[in-house]
């Protein structure tokens, strides 16, 4: 999910560095048991995934807890863990915005407001909703875009994970790709969405079990939160690493180069609502809930866990700033991904990039002369989490930590391929290729599409890695597509005047507009100042402002076209649009099961956290 992932991809790690860690037999056993368990779960669930409803929608019988944990887990990929830990090292607590304001309001909105519509219309997918609301063209456009993204992102992430395993453990990339791809293919193709969700919940527990020790031990060694703050201020000569909002009044005041308007409206609305409310990868998990109350409760349960994730992602990044040491005891300084890539192995770009880092001239000289020294072993920001794991986790525990990373990768990939399979089968194959297939036929198509999807993913991953220029485009795919989709769905769901042709044209023109903005800045980096409204803006600001403009542009197109075209009769919109949809009455429940109560509690914690780290 490039939108919710740090800008620098670990896929760009170079290959020649020595492995960070060496696993012992106990660690290998921990990892092997994990693989055996997930594959066994796939075989166990095969018998319960025979119909289309069972295979693609997990029988719609998940409890709120399972759907909620799976909802969060599908987004908690290992690259996300490592990328955002690296961002925390680079930007401080500002990176937490992607977990709090960039997630919580949207998750609550999904549960409280949008879920009833998705659930009542009994759609199999988000493109399926577009079909009901705007017609076939909008559905096909969304489905093709989504399926392409899923395959490319799955491939890029698979390859990136293999590179991480190579760098961290020294494993052969082909070995990592083959083993992980086979495991994911087996358990998803056998058990369908049920198996993917089942394993995502398992993986969620493992991620916490494997990664939670790092911040706990790090805080003990740093002398608690106060000790951490004191040392960061002493090392970095700035206290802005601990403030979420204080330094966002001007682009130049914070290391991320963003403005609070971009964070609130671009990230907090366009990106976040686009991802959490309309991206089928995550919405599919909630659609599998066994009743409407569970479907509404699932994102709310997920929001509590999402608020806690910075403890295992952001905190290790901050701790890395003060605790990581070189062999001679001096403070280890990590460097940006592009610098690392230019210097390991050495290239002509290394020297100028190295000068922009905070490494001392002596260390820079050692690096440039390729002289072995205690401080010349370069590591990038994205390696901060594995470095912290290696620092604190001995045999067994390190295996568990590595399993957490692998589990994160596999949950992300399983999410990609299971969502791809559903969209391919129900939104492309069924309406465009074979409308008259039996239920068994579509299940078979779904299983085959998973195998096919994984094979194409592997090919796409290798292709993208060989052509570095494509990587930027692949990573931007989500950002280009998701904001126009949000505007299209929101207007369709809350404005009955929005017409079929307006929805399709709005989505299409919004995607083109968003892609054009991306290309404009890609070709002419100085134009970032126009997109983000400031010459001091940095690339992170471009993402959030581009999403905001794309969302607004799409909304304007839909509004204008709708005003000039004939609306659908209101009777046709029942079950699809707010105001003309009788929502099912939920059975009375004890107060402690009320969704509004838990949503209010989530809002209170969210507000308190933002004030605490203001």
């Amino acid at each position: 999910m490039s939108f919710l992932k740090a800008p620098a991809s670990p896929a760009l790690l170079a290959f020649s560095a020595a492995p960070l860690a060496h696993l012992r037999s106990l660690d290998i056993a921990v990892i092997a048991i994990y693989f055996a368990m997930v594959i066994w779960i796939g075989f166990y669930l095969k018998g319960r995934s025979n119909t289309g409803e069972e295979f693609f929608m997990a029988g719609r019988e998940m409890t709120a807890w399972i759907a909620g944990l799976s909802f969060v887990s599908a987004n908690l990929g290992s690259l996300e863990l490592m990328g955002w830990a690296g961002s925390a090292y680079q930007y401080g607590i500002l990176a937490t915005h992607w977990y709090w304001v960039g997630a919580i309001p949207a998750m609550l909105f999904l549960g409280l407001v949008m879920m009833p519509f998705y659930y009542v219309c009994k759609t199999h997918s988000v493109p399926g909703y577009l079909n009901l609301r705007y017609g076939e063209h909008a559905r096909v456009l969304a489905a093709i875009s989504f399926a392409t993204e899923m395959i490319l992102m799955s491939g890029v992430n698979m390859f990136a994970m293999a590179v991480v395993m190579k760098v961290v453990l020294g494993w052969s990339m082909t070995f990592s790709i083959v083993v992980s791809a086979c495991a994911v293919t087996l358990y998803v193709a056998l058990g369908g969405l049920r198996s993917a969700i089942f394993n995502e919940v398992l993986q969620f527990v493992l991620i916490w079990g494997g990664a939670l020790l790092v911040p706990i031990l790090g805080l003990i060694q740093a002398g608690g939160v106060d000790g951490l703050k004191r040392q960061i201020i002493a090392n970095m000569h700035s206290d802005s690493y601990f403030h979420l909002w204080r330094d966002t009044a001007h682009f130049a005041d914070n290391p991320m180069g963003v403005h609070w308007t971009g964070i609130v409206f671009g990230l907090g609305f366009a990106i976040s609502f686009g991802y959490w409310c309309t991206d089928f990868l995550v919405v599919q998990r909630v659609l599998a809930a066994h009743n409407l109350r569970a479907a509404r409760m699932a994102p709310i349960i997920g929001s509590f866990f999402k608020m806690a994730v910075p403890f295992i992602v952001i905190l290790p990044g901050l701790l890395g700033l003060v605790l990581l040491q070189n062999p001679d005891g001096s403070r280890m300084q990590l460097i940006p991904q592009d610098t690392w890539k230019a210097c390991v192995p050495m290239s002509s770009d290394c020297a100028p990039l190295l000068k922009q880092t905070s490494l001392s001239p002596a260390v820079q000289k050692d690096v440039l002369n390729q002289k072995e020294g205690p401080q010349s072993d370069l590591h990038s920001y994205n390696e901060v989490l594995p470095l912290m794991m290696v620092r604190y986790l001995g045999p067994g525990l390190l295996g568990l930590g590595i399993t957490a990373l692998i589990a994160g990768f596999m949950s992300g990939m399983a999410g990609n391929v299971s969502a791809f399979s559903t969209v391919w089968t129900y939104d492309l194959y069924k309406p465009l290729i074979n409308k008259k297939g039996t239920d068994n036929h579509y299940v078979m198509v779904g299983r085959l599409s998973i195998v096919f999807g994984v094979l194409v993913s592997i090919g796409a991953g290798y292709l993208v890695q060989r052509s570095h220029g494509i990587m930027d485009y692949v990573q931007a795919l989500f950002s280009i597509f998701i904001a126009p989709l949000l505007a299209t769905i929101l207007l369709g769901m809350f404005w009955k005047r929005a017409t079929r042709i307006a929805g399709f044209l709005g989505l299409l023109s919004g995607i083109i507009f968003s892609a054009s903005l991306f290309e404009w800045v890609h070709l002419y980096p100085a134009k970032l100042a126009y997109v983000a409204l400031s010459p001091d803006a940095k690339p992170m600001a471009e993402n959030v402002f581009r999403a905001l403009w794309a969302c607004l542009f799409t909304a304007i197109v839909i509004f204008v076209v709708s005003m000039f075209t004939k609306p659908r009769p209101v009777a046709e919109l029942e079950g699809l649009v707010y105001g003309v949809t009788p929502l099912p009455k939920e059975e009375p429940v004890p107060f402690y099961k009320n969704v509004w109560l838990w949503a209010t509690l989530a809002v209170c914690i969210f507000a308190a956290l933002n004030i605490l780290f203001w």
């Binding site: 048991i33 399972i66 003990i220 066994h290 290696v390 001995g394 067994g396």
Partner: protein
């Protein structure tokens, strides 16, 4: 998981017990022999012992509470 079959929480319990016992066992061995891994910090806290114990206890709780066939 809703419906029949083995609940997902049971699988999680089994995995936690397995991992917990493996890590706890190594932790006890490490503490007993005093052979701590080089380059790992804070070995004096005996992390594998208490973390392994915690995982085991949590796993046992889940295995017992969600074991197949238990009437809930």
């Amino acid at each position: 998981m809703h419906g029949s079959g083995i609940p997902i929480w049971f699988f999680i319990g089994v995995l936690l017990v397995t991992y917990g016992l493996m890590i706890l066992g190594y932790g006890v061995y490490e503490w007993h022999t005093g052979s701590y891994p080089p380059l790992v910090e804070l070995t004096n806290l005996h992390t594998p012992v208490w973390w392994g114990g915690l995982l085991t206890a949590l796993g046992v709780l889940y295995v017992v509470k969600f074991r197949p066939g238990r009437v809930r």
